[in-house]
Structures are given as structure tokens and as C-alpha cells.
């Protein structure tokens, strides 16, 4: 999965970390590393996806370039994550387009053009130039079936890609520490090796909490050295905004579907209705979150990261930001003649967002969560072993 020279370099750097261990209090990556004396390809994938890119280890490292050890763990792990997304999101040939901002932009533009062409071809250009009001106004521009069928198709496709990737990823990271590795701990933790056990319900729950709270972006209490040389919570908070915003938008869509299909109320909904309230909350959170994260990224040090990963981050954040902005504009301008054009752009961008989702940064939560679940299991066993030891 990795180029041999890349794997060797990652092994070299992680070997230095494993001999040092000063960073073990920052996040889950280092305690997980300490259980392993030799890093196989699956271990690298696991560690890379545990990494939340807070960069505290880079800031604290005595061995970063120009030191001859040239340790740059955030970069190595970001490179490995890029490779993870490429490898596990099938078909792999599609990885080509999303390695650049241009690829994502092209697909999103293609989405807009496709929506526009479809409307012009089937409904004629006139619907795009006049204002539409009253129940079902949106559907005069883009008929309900024409929205729902492609949306379901694209989402299902993405879900299948994610599930297949998740299955293969879990299988590959399950290698785990061998019994010999597990005994390689700092003296006096000289104890019988922990055996690899399957993930339990408790681990699934623990990992969910770790993911939702972004526990490992807290840097063991130091915050995240991002964008610059001082611990900060900005990135974690902004990530909460984006995740929360996305969730709110999803809730808004779900309630809208219920209102329309079960209660028979057609959109546009009144300003104080649940879909609009959730939609506005989601939109604002998404705009603040994505814009803020783009701002942080622009001010952050490019040294401890991968250029490809940065491009993926920008592509995803900007696209999500644009979807949220057009969504909010659509709400404000829904009574005007601009509505049809905005709707075309919004739907087109959504097409772009969901087509690129399994191949871009969006997919990170799947692999990160699975890595966290694996780690939760290891942590449970270690704590158990620790308590047994302390009891002696």
C-alpha cells in the first residue's frame, strides 16, 4: 500500500519517537506506538488515522529539521492518511481527481452545469429568469423527483464506497501488536503481553465520545499548536461548528422531508418552522466553521503537513462553505428572481460535494472513528494491566 521508501522513512521516524516517548501525554498516537516495536504497513495506517494533526508533538520535538534526525511526525502521518483515503475509497482510479483543488472545483462546476442543462433542456430557460412564490416554488424550478432520485443515488453510492473502505480498513489495522511487541514496554511495566481482543461495545461508545469531543485535539490539556506557536482551542471549536452545522443541516433536511411527505406541507417553509430554524443554525455554523478553519489553515505553518492533504482540506472546506453560503442566500432571496439561479448553483455544488465526499477529506471521519475504536480497546486492556500491576 505504501511505497517502500516511504514506509522505511515512516518506520525510521516512528522508531525515534518510540525511543523518546516525551510526547505520550499529547494524544493517542504515542501510547499506541509504544505497544509496537516494529511498525508494519497496517500499524502505520492505524497510527496515521489516529492522528488529529494538532502538531503539539512537532512543537515539542527536539529533533525536527534542521536536526539530522529530521523528525516531522505530523507530515509523515498526513502523507499516510492521504494514502489511506486513496487506497480504501474504491475505485482507486477516482482518487486522481481529488488530489487537487482543481479536481474538486471541476466536479462541482460540472454539477452546476449538469443541473442547469437539465433544467434548460426539460423545462426551458424561462423558469430560471422569473420569481416563484408559494408552496412548491422550488419544485417549479427543479422538480421533486429530479432532485430526490439523483440525491439518493449519489448518497447510496457514497455510502457503499465508505462501507467497503471501512471494512477493508478495519481488517488491515487489526494486525495489532504481537505478543513480543506487547512486552516491549518501559521497565518496570514488565507484564504478560496483552492479547488482541475484538472491539467491544464499550470501545465503540468510548470512541464515539472521543470523536464527538475531539479529545485528541486537546493535546493532553495543552491545546493545539495550530495555527502557530501557542496552544489554542480555536481549531477544535471550529471543527465542532462544522460538524454541528453539518448535523443541523441534515436534521433540517430530514424534518423537511417528514413535513412534506407525511404532513403534506410543501416548501418553502415559514421562517419559524423547524426545517428553517435548523437550516439557518446549520448554515451559520457551517459558514463560521469552514471560513474559520480556512483562515487558520492559511496562517498555519506548512512545514508539519502534507501539501496534498492541505489541498484536500481546502477543497472540502471551501466547497462546504459555498454550499452553506448558497443555502443561506437561497433562504434570504427565495422570493426574488435570483432564486432559480441560486438553486441551480446550490444543487450543483451539492452534487459536487456528495460525489467527491468518499474521495476527499469528508471521508476522514470514517477512518478516524475506526482507529479510535481500535485504540479504545487497547487503552481498556492497558488500564486493566496497569491496575493489576499497581495492585501487586
Amino acid at each position: 500500500m505504501y511505497a517502500p521508501e516511504f514506509l522505511r522513512e515512516a518506520q525510521r521516524q516512528l522508531g525515534v519517537c518510540n525511543a523518546c516517548r516525551y510526547c505520550e501525554g499529547y494524544c493517542a498516537v504515542f501510547p499506541a506506538l509504544e505497544l509496537r516495536t516494529e511498525i508494519a504497513s497496517g500499524d502505520l495506517t492505524y497510527l496515521a488515522n489516529l492522528c488529529h494533526d494538532c502538531r503539539d508533538c512537532y512543537t515539542a520535538c527536539m529533533f525536527t529539521p534542521p536536526h539530522e534526525f529530521a523528525i516531522n511526525i505530523p507530515k509523515v502521518l498526513a502523507d499516510a492518511r492521504v494514502r489511506t483515503y486513496e487506497h480504501y475509497s474504491r475505485p482507486r482510479v477516482l482518487a486522481l481527481f481529488r488530489r487537487s483543488v482543481a479536481g474538486t472545483a471541476a466536479i462541482s462546476l460540472g454539477g452546476i452545469v449538469a443541473v442547469w442543462l437539465a433544467i434548460v433542456t426539460f423545462l426551458g430557460p424561462v423558469v430560471l429568469t422569473v420569481a416563484h412564490r408559494g408552496p412548491g416554488a422550488f419544485y417549479t424550478v427543479a422538480p421533486w423527483l429530479a432532485i430526490i432520485v439523483p440525491a439518493i443515488a449519489i448518497s447510496l453510492y457514497g455510502a457503499v464506497v465508505a462501507v467497503v473502505g471501512a471494512w477493508e480498513f478495519s481488517r488491515d489495522i487489526r494486525g495489532g501488536p504481537t505478543p513480543a511487541d506487547a512486552s516491549a514496554r518501559p521497565l518496570p511495566a514488565d507484564q504478560p503481553p496483552a492479547t488482541v481482543k475484538p472491539t467491544r461495545a464499550a470501545d465503540v461508545w468510548r470512541a464515539a465520545l472521543d470523536a464527538v469531543t475531539l479529545r485528541f485535539l486537546k493535546g493532553g490539556g495543552a491545546g493545539c499548536y495550530y495555527p502557530r506557536q501557542r496552544g489554542s482551542s480555536q481549531r477544535r471549536i471550529l471543527h465542532h461548528f462544522v460538524a454541528g452545522g453539518f448535523l443541523a443541516a441534515l436534521i433540517s433536511t430530514t424534518i423537511a422531508a417528514i413535513e412534506q411527505d407525511i404532513l403534506g406541507r410543501m416548501p418553502p417553509f415559514p421562517l419559524l418552522s423547524l426545517p428553517v430554524v435548523f437550516g439557518v443554525a446549520g448554515g451559520v455554523l457551517l459558514i463560521v466553521g469552514t471560513t474559520g478553519l480556512v483562515g487558520l489553515k492559511m496562517r498555519s505553518d506548512a512545514e508539519p503537513t502534507s501539501a496534498v492533504m492541505t489541498a484536500m482540506d481546502y477543497a472540502f472546506l471551501v466547497l462546504l462553505d459555498l454550499v452553506a453560503i448558497t443555502g443561506m442566500l437561497l433562504l434570504v432571496l427565495r422570493e426574488t428572481r435570483l432564486m432559480p439561479s441560486l438553486l441551480v448553483v446550490h444543487l450543483g455544488l451539492l452534487v459536487g460535494l456528495f460525489i467527491t465526499a468518499p474521495y476527499g477529506k469528508f471521508i476522514h471521519f470514517v477512518y478516524r472513528y475506526l482507529a479510535l475504536a481500535r485504540r479504545a480497546g487497547e487503552e481498556r486492556l492497558e488500564t486493566l494491566a496497569g491496575e493489576t500491576q499497581a495492585g501487586h
Partner: protein, 490 residues
């Protein structure tokens, strides 16, 4: 971060100049600035290498009466003092030792106020120590926090700034001679705190005592500790303290960088097998005492071997039992094949292994947590614990050389950290803290995390005393200048 600029800038001056940029220097700068002094900190290294050997530290030893979330039990004054006198061979200046211990109680609270964080316990309490407090992220994170704090307090920091000497200017204070980014300057100030470390990175100085062998020593820390200020103070008549020839050294991987390899070059395999020199002979009991107590003697032992090189040899039974060093071991399926990879006398090496194996018991799993009494018989020198036949392939070897951590030679200071001259009088305006005066407290031996305790306690003390000296002079000579008063912090 403010970058140093000297071109077109007004000439530097300060109430207190701090020479050095590690833990003791930063503690002095922070404390002096907190007490209202205008402070200029001159760090010899470029910004990315700032912090001296403090970059490589990990924890701090301190006095406490009970267990907390971060330490597993009490560490009281009597035990602390016993430890100190035992490792130091009783040479400590008793008053300074008592100060270090008593003041260490308040150190964690002070550190936390500056923004330092502690490492949360991992895996139950296994990772905690009883005597030492682990700060999150290690020494470079500590140093980063202190620089951040110092800059917020208004301390001016110059990097690439080597302090080379100090001139007494009587009632006007003193002038610090420095070379900042290549330009020579005389900086007027009221007091100077020297916290510029030892001389372990000065190979020529080491060679004065160790001859050509010094050229093959590795230096575990910063390449900037060349002892310039230590030499300048001694030349001006400071009373030396500590064995000039003395240093703390471990056996570290021979492939390590010449300087600054830090913790990752440490080799922990020595007690698991045998250690041979390039003549192929064993030369010391590898099982003398439990490893944490004895690992520090191996730097000196290897320094006395031909070519200052030795090999730690062990077999598959021990692989994975210790923290692996940054470099991979040599490995082979037979001892002769392993010998081919090593730069030593092969026949003698194989004979040594054979003799050891004849005299050693067959032990399957070595228990390193205690002296197990598993000893060789009829082998010279004996291995008195953890002796086990080297019989399970593959066989492994790590090459080791002496890796110097720090030197003991320093200057004598009084209770106010003033540098004392041979006549017993204090040198005017000059204070010292950290490694360059730790010989007052620990003239030999090693106590983990205690160097940082000395640096913090005496760095803070030197900062307060230097500030008081600087301010006292001014208030004695008239009103304090308003500009300086503006730096006062609560």
C-alpha cells in the same frame, strides 16, 4: 515571535541581563521581570535550538508530603537529602542543598502559573513516578512555555547572542560583552545572571583532561554549551567548584550524532547480556545493580576502553524487553556471523562468549525488576545478576560510546547566588544559576530530574536577587525611571 534585529536598532541596555537561554536562564528572566526589572535575555543558540540542555529534560524532582494525581507518594525532606548526599558523595554545600530541597516544594505551583502543564497519568498509575513530576511534552515544550511567558512579561530576547565577558563599572553597574549576530557589543546593565551551562560541548576543553579520547566522546545535548562564560568567570577569579574532570555520561549508541542526540540514543540492553570492548574482552560486571541505579557508570567505563567503543551483546530472549533505541541493532543467526558485522577482535570475542556461556546458568526469562542472584561461576569479571547463556538466536549487538550529559565544574555562589571569588568576596553585579553552579549542590553523581530543580530554584532566586540589586541601586540613587516602572507586574 519577535525576530532579533540589531541593525539600525538603538543600543541595547537593561537592568538585568541574563546570559543563557535554558531553564535556569528563563526562570531568572521571568522572575526578574516579574519583580519590575527590564530584562534582556541573550541566548547563544539560534531560535530553533533555543533552550540549551533543558530541551532534553523530562521531569522535575520536588519535595512533597503526599501523593497527588501526578505523583504516587510522598517525598520528604529527609529522604530527599539522603538521596542527594548519597549520590553526591556528601560533598554538597549543605546550606545550598537545603535551599534546593526546601524551595523545590513550591516549584510545581510556580511552574503551573507560568503555563506549564503536567502529563496526565496513562494506563492507571504505571507511568507516574513517586519523586518526580512529568511535564507535558518534555523539555522543549517547557522551554517554549517559558519563552512565551517571558516575552509576555516584556523580557527582550536575542538569539545568536553569545555573551563573552563582563566588565565591572563600579557604581554604574556593569557592561556585558556580547557578540550578537556577529556584531560585538558592550551592553550596560545593573546586574548579570550567568545561566549559560557547562562546557561539555567544548571538545578541546574536555581534551585537556581526557586527551585524544575526548575526540571520540559524543555529546548528548546542545552543541552551544562551550563554557565561554564559565571560563570567563574562572579567569576573573571566581572560586571553582566541582571536579573539573568530572562529567555525567551514559553508554549511548555509537552511531549517534556528535551532538544533541538526546534521550533516543540511550541503550538499555546492557544488563540483559554482556558488554565487550574492541579487544573482545568483557570488562565489568553487567549485573552489578538494578539498571536505573547503575546505568550512569557505563559512560565512564566505556570511556576507559580502547577506542572508546564497546558492544552490548544479547540474544533473542531479551529482544523487546527494553525500550528500543533509535538505531536498529546488528543481528545475526550465529555469533560468528554477528562478529563479522562488528569492529572488534573476532577470535577473542567468540572465546569470551564461549567462556561466559560455560559459566552462566540457562535462564529462560530474566527478571529485571529485582536483583535475581543468577550469577556466573568461574568467569572474570563475573556477572552477578541476570546471567543467562547467550544461546537463543538471533543474536544482537548495539555499539556504544560515552555520551556526555553535563560537566560538574562550576563557580561558587553564596546564598544570594552571587558569584564568589577565591578571596571569598562576591564578584560585583554577577549572579549564577543552573548547570554552571550546580556543582555547589551536586559535585558528582546524578539524581534524575534534580538538575532542573537546581536550575528552577536558583534561577528564580538569581532573578529576584539580580532584580533587587538593580532596583536597589536605582532607588538609592534617586527615583526609579518611569519607563522601567512600567514593566512592573503584579
Amino acid at each position: 515571535m519577535v525576530r532579533p534585529r540589531t541593525d539600525g536598532q538603538p543600543p541595547l541596555d537593561a537592568d538585568v541581563v541574563v546570559a543563557g537561554g535554558g531553564n535556569a536562564a528563563l526562570c531568572a528572566a521571568i522572575e526578574a521581570a516579574s519583580h519590575g526589572a527590564r530584562v534582556l535575555l541573550l541566548e547563544r543558540a539560534p531560535e530553533h535550538m533555543r533552550g540549551g540542555n533543558s530541551r532534553h529534560t523530562r521531569n522535575i524532582r520536588y519535595l512533597h508530603d503526599e501523593r497527588t494525581a501526578y505523583v504516587t507518594g510522598p517525598y520528604r525532606r529527609d529522604e530527599f537529602l539522603d538521596d542527594l548526599l548519597r549520590v553526591g558523595g556528601g560533598q554538597a554545600n549543605r546550606a545550598h542543598a537545603e535551599t534546593a530541597i526546601a524551595e523545590s516544594r513550591l516549584v510545581p505551583e510556580w511552574m503551573a502559573r507560568q503555563g506549564v502543564r503536567w502529563q496526565q497519568p496513562l494506563r492507571g498509575t504505571l507511568h507516574l513516578s513517586r519523586t518526580n513530576l512529568f511535564f507535558l511534552g518534555g523539555g522543549k515544550a517547557l522551554v517554549n512555555t517559558y519563552y512565551d511567558r517571558a516575552l509576555r512579561l516584556g523580557v527582550r530576547v536575542r538569539y545568536d547572542a553569545a555573551v563573552t565577558g563582563v566588565e565591572d563599572r563600579g557604581t554604574a553597574g556593569c557592561a556585558v560583552l556580547a557578540e550578537i549576530a556577529g556584531a560585538k557589543q558592550a551592553i550596560p546593565c545593573r546586574a548579570l545572571v550567568v545561566a549559560a551551562g557547562g562546557f561539555e560541548a567544548n571538545i578541546d576543553w574536555l581534551a585537556r583532561y581526557w586527551g585524544e579520547a575526548a575526540r571520540r566522546f559524543l555529546i548528548r545535548g546542545t552543541p552551544y554549551n562551550d563554557g565561554t562564560m564559565l571560563a570567563a568567570l574562572l579567569e576573573r577569579g571566581a572560586q571553582p567548584v566541582g571536579d573539573p574532570k568530572g562529567f555525567h555520561a551514559l553508554a549511548i549508541d555509537a552511531r549517534s550524532p556528535r551532538f544533541d542526540g538526546g534521550i533516543v540514543t540511550r541503550v538499555d540492553s546492557l544488563p540483559f547480556g554482556i558488554v565487550v570492548n574492541t579487544d573482545g574482552h568483557r570488562f565489568y560486571d553487567e549485573g552489578e545493580d538494578i539498571w536505573p541505579k547503575r546505568y550512569a557508570i557505563w559512560g565512564g567505563l566505556v570511556a576507559a576502553q580502547p577506542g572508546q567503543l564497546a558492544y552490548s551483546i544479547f540474544d533473542a530472549k531479551s529482544w523487546g524487553r527494553f525500550i528500543p533505541p533509535a538505531y536498529p541493532p546488528f543481528r545475526a543467526d550465529t555469533m560468528p556471523a554477528l562478529a563479522l558485522q562488528l569492529d572488534l577482535h573476532r577470535e577473542q570475542f567468540l572465546a569470551t562468549v564461549e567462556m561466559f556461556n560455560r559459566g552462566a546458568p540457562a535462564v529462560r526469562r530474566i527478571d529485571m525488576s529485582a536483583l535475581d542472584g543468577s550469577a556466573t561461576s568461574g568467569v572474570t569479571p563475573p556477572k552477578t545478576n541476570w546471567a543467562s547463556r547467550l544461546d537463543t538466536p538471533p543474536f544482537y549487538a548495539f555499539p556504544v560510546r560515552p555520551g556526555i550529559t553535563f560537566t560538574y565544574l562550576g563557580v561558587t555562589v553564596d546564598a544570594q547566588t552571587r558569584v564568589i571569588t577565591a578571596s571569598g568576596a562576591p564578584m560585583p553585579h554577577v549572579y549564577a544559576a543552573g548547570e554552571c553552579m550546580s556543582g555547589n549542590i551536586l559535585a558528582s553523581g546524578y539524581l534524575g530530574g534534580f538538575g532542573l530543580t537546581i536550575g528552577t530554584v536558583f534561577g528564580r532566586l538569581a532573578g529576584r536577587e539580580a532584580a533587587a540589586h538593580a532596583m536597589g541601586r536605582e532607588t538609592g540613587g534617586g527615583a526609579r525611571p518611569a519607563a522601567a516602572a512600567g514593566h512592573v507586574r503584579a
